[in-house]
């Protein structure tokens, strides 16, 4: 979405609404299969580059005949129905139930290989005729997609979820008492609204985990493998999507160190009526070669009685804040925006979520004390995502903005500009940027200090005091500590967004705090978006700490660099394959090792690092007019240099990361290891509009053919079952 000025005329609003409807009609015809992308190109609605044609009344880039500014025609502003900011409480995340008996709780019982039991298919599914059958599990069949290490790490916890249309939540479990949740009564039904004063979302407007809000939180600890069973209960008819969203899904545990069959590979999607079993072993990276006898006391997991249990692996690879979301090929942006996003806290002996246990390992970060691990009283997940809705208040998205989609209403935990009550003490906030294309830059309204303790899933080597966080790209997680003891009871302070956008390509400007608070920005998502109300003194003394040293980086000096690769992210991509399932067409692409700029094809192998090796990858931004937050799946990387210089790496990027913002015209050099698990993974821009159009590539860990094939066959999902075919293409520098 692009922003219309605040004093937009009624005539122009009507024009914008007409343009929106025109685009939606094209979209609907495309989604319904009435037209193909090729036909749209022929008719001049799409350009050969996959762009929406330069037509007034259709393309949001074309200036309105009535335009009074350079801001292109956009959607009408999302109506607020009289709702005011900071008038409703921010709900804590809804914690997903954990069952300790996966093999008896789940029906059918989980299996190492995909469960291919047949079921009668619904004929509303595409390509299905009466009498067709297909497997109940959408995971590709056979040994290659069997859970790696299933017998060594058998699941000990089951988490079972659905993906379905919006409905009222009657089983909200914030796992904290009401006084730690701004007074919200968890027993009260929660309709799916972005604010109590806004309309209820229809079942095809929003598709969330379990169909409800608040957003979901999964809780894990090391050495406690999880079987995450995800049921697809979205509409069988692909046209029943409320204008955007795809009913096939693939769930990515971002940035899980798991086998590829559990990574949410973009081409391993599953259909309505199926489930997919994801096996998350929750192991420390390096467990096959480092600390294999589990003697290092820092490589440990919390037990249930205040103690800890040693585990194998490198404690410097301990991870903390993850999230999981859809990764459906070419539809990730729509599905994540529609609600397929949740967070995932991983606990360890170092970061156990208990601030009182003093065992010489526990870092005692703000959390709570009631439970042995995973206390949430003072450890708060924040999901930032701006949204847009139509005249009826239903979630809306303009999928023709190939350079990025922006909403015009800020939400935190899917609630419009809420407030959150806090005590006069330290809190940890795990901040996720769950937007489609928007970058945030966060400050507190009084300019006071926040302590950044983690970047992405990883605690930093040392805490970094900041008054303004760095820009936070899509999918990046910043964990910060705010000490509210500096405020008196009754005070209020706000989180403020300083990053101003004019479009979805990048921020147009990072504002000063005073400018962001002035209300003069044309971007409605600049300024205050979350109000902290300091409501009381803590009942017990705050014993939490922010230690001077947290988790140093793994020492890779003894690990030789097997090879280097370069990836350039830019525009003008070519598509060298034409597989209708695996390839996609769009303006964005990736150039590998100096080759051609290529559009996405998950049947193409662009890189194949050898199992057990370390490589250095340089990620380059091929342009100056955009930014890209690049996500590399599977294992954490260390940033070695920015723009070629180690001295350009800021303090908050000196830990491990999994998303690397390139900055306009910039580059990032990282090092990664490829170990423990095998299979096919991805690398892509996490501006998910860029990812979908078509800035994504597949890489896989090359085990030289043992035990798997080299290269791996590409899965081709259908409701009747997944077939395999040879890769469409293997780049000459891949192996």
């Amino acid at each position: 979405m692009f922003f219309l000025p605040k004093k937009t005329s009624k005539l122009r609003l009507r024009e914008a609404e007409n343009a929106r409807r025109n685009r939606w009609e094209v979209l609907k015809a495309l989604a319904d299969g009435q037209v193909t992308r090729r036909e749209l190109i022929k008719w001049g609605i799409f350009t050969a580059g996959g762009l929406l044609a330069w037509k007034h009344g259709l393309n949001p880039f074309v200036k309105s005949a009535y335009a009074a500014s350079n801001i292109p025609t956009g959607l009408p502003p999302s109506p607020l129905f009289g709702v005011q900011a900071f008038t409703t409480a921010m709900p804590r995340f809804d914690v997903l139930a954990r069952n300790p008996n996966p093999f008896t709780f789940l029906n059918p019982s989980p299996t190492a290989e995909s469960n291919q039991t047949q079921q009668l298919l619904n004929t509303a599914l595409e390509g299905v005729v009466a009498g067709d059958t297909g497997p109940i599990e959408g995971r590709p069949p056979g040994p290659i997609w069997a859970h790696q290490g299933f017998n060594v790490f058998p699941p000990r916890i089951a988490i079972e979820v659905t993906q379905e249309g919006a409905k009222t939540n009657t089983v909200y479990n914030p796992q904290v008492a009401s006084n730690f949740n701004s007074g919200i009564d968890p027993a009260a039904p929660i309709p799916l609204k972005f604010h109590p004063g806004l309309p209820t979302q229809g079942p095809n407007a929003v598709w969330t985990f379990n169909g409800t809000i608040p957003p979901k939180l999964a809780i894990a600890r090391y050495a406690e493998p999880i079987l995450f069973r995800h049921h697809n209960r979205l509409p069988f008819d692909v046209r029943q999507n409320g204008g955007f969203g795809r009913h096939t899904i693939s769930t990515h545990e971002h940035n899980g160190h798991h086998g590829a069959e559990n990574d949410g590979f973009t081409g391993a999607f599953f259909f309505p009526g199926q489930f997919y079993d994801y096996h998350w072993p929750i192991v420390l990276a390096g467990f096959r070669t480092i600390n294999t006898a589990a003697t290092d006391p820092k490589a440990a997991t919390p037990d249930d009685s205040g103690g800890k249990i040693n585990v194998p692996g490198d404690w410097r690879e301990t991870m903390s804040t993850h999230w999981f979301h859809d990764h459906m090929f070419s539809f990730t942006s729509q599905n994540v925006y529609k609600g397929n996003a949740a967070m995932f806290n991983i606990y360890s002996a170092l970061d156990r979520g208990n601030e009182a246990i003093n065992d010489g390992v526990n870092l005692r970060l703000p959390s709570g004390t009631l439970k042995s691990f995973g206390n949430l009283e003072y450890d708060v997940n924040l999901m930032l995502a701006e949204k847009a809705w139509d005249a009826n208040g239903q979630l809306a998205m303009d999928i023709f903005d190939f350079d990025g989609f922006l909403g015009d209403q800020m939400t935190v935990n899917l609630t419009y500009k809420p407030f959150f009550e806090v005590e006069r003490r330290k809190y940890r906030f795990r901040i996720l940027n769950a937007s489609v294309s928007r970058f945030f830059k966060i400050a507190l309204s009084d300019g006071s200090t926040m302590i950044q303790i983690a970047n992405d899933g990883n605690l930093l080597p040392v805490p970094v005091p900041l008054t303004q966080l760095d820009e936070q790209g899509i999918a990046e997680r910043y964990d910060i500590v705010i000490d509210f003891s500096r405020y008196p009871v009754g005070a209020k302070v706000h989180m403020v967004n300083l990053a101003e956008h004019q479009d979805g390509k990048k921020t147009s400007k990072d504002l000063s705090l005073a400018d962001a608070l002035s209300g003069n920005s044309a971007d409605p998502c600049v300024g205050r978006f979350l109000e902290f109300r300091i409501v009381r003194n803590p009942a017990t003394p705050d014993v939490s700490q922010v230690p001077a040293v947290m988790i140093p980086n793994p020492d890779l000096s003894a690990v030789p660099v097997a090879r280097t690769r370069t990836f350039e992210f830019g525009r003008g991509a070519n598509q060298t394959t034409n597989d209708p399932v695996t390839s996609f067409f769009g303006p964005w692409g990736i150039k590998t090792d100096g080759g051609s700029m290529l559009a996405a094809d998950f049947g193409r192998v662009s890189a194949a690092p050898r199992f057990g090796t370390r490589e250095i990858w340089t990620l380059k931004n091929g342009g100056g007019g955009w930014d890209h937050p690049i996500h590399i799946h599977f294992e954490e990387g260390q940033v070695l240099a920015r723009d070629g210089k180690a001295s350009n790496v800021p303090a908050w990027e000196k830990g491990r990361k999994d998303v690397y913002r390139l900055r306009p015209g910039g580059s990032v050099t990282i090092t990664m290891q490829f170990r423990d698990w095998g299979g096919m993974f991805m690398e892509h821009c996490h501006n998910t509009v860029h990812e979908d159009n078509a800035m994504l590539l597949r890489w896989e860990i090359d085990d030289n053919g043992a035990p798997f094939l080299r290269p791996l066959p590409t899965p081709i999902p259908t409701p009747q079952g997944v077939t395999f075919r040879a890769p469409d293409d293997i780049l000459p520098t891949a192996l």
Partner: protein, 180 residues
């Protein structure tokens, strides 16, 4: 685009700008920082659709000023390291972006009452649109040398920057520190 002017008047000042062709040169003596011109290095990179040009300027900007407050006022001085990368956008024809990096780690403070040393490791990275004159303002945390990150206080840094919009070079920079 010009934003708001500095709200404070305390200690504005000194502007000296170093001429540096590379970041490596920044490690030279502070005496070099008092020169009055700025040199830039320009690099170009080519994408499939166009050629993007990055003009990089590095400078040391002398800066000083006093942050008032309890337990004592702190007088800061030192040199801010400034890197300005001006990046063109030939694909969309949009105005160039300035990626600014402002590092205050070489700026230190002295407690006006106690003489105690205060330090900041603050680095600010900002995206701005290219304009002939730009004022950049941000708060920064500081703390007693050796103190805990939790004990930090806050100061305000302000920079007035001048660019040649034709050569894409930073041509002038002044800085000041004050109370937020």
């Amino acid at each position: 685009m010009k934003t708001r002017r500095s709200l404070f008047t305390l200690g504005v000042l000194s502007l000296g700008v170093a001429i540096l062709a590379s970041v490596a040169a920044l490690s030279g003596s502070l005496a070099n920082a008092q020169t009055t011109t700025i040199a830039a290095s320009t690099t170009s990179s080519t994408s499939t659709s166009s050629t993007t040009t990055t003009t990089a300027t590095a400078a040391l900007v002398s800066i000083k000023g006093t942050v008032s407050g309890l337990p004592e006022s702190v007088a800061f001085s030192g040199q801010a390291q400034l890197n300005a990368n001006v990046v063109t956008d030939p694909d969309f024809g949009a105005p160039p972006t300035v990626v600014l990096s402002l590092d205050l780690s070489k700026v230190t403070g002295v407690g006006v009452s106690t003489g105690k040393k205060y330090v900041t490791s603050n680095q600010e990275i900002l995206n701005r649109g290219l304009t002939a004159a730009d004022t950049v303002q941000f708060t920064f945390p500081f703390l007693p040398s050796g103190g805990s990150a939790m004990s930090s206080r806050v100061g305000l840094a302000s920079f007035n920057l001048s660019f040649d919009v034709n050569t894409l070079k930073l041509t002038g920079a002044t800085g000041a520190i004050g109370s937020p």
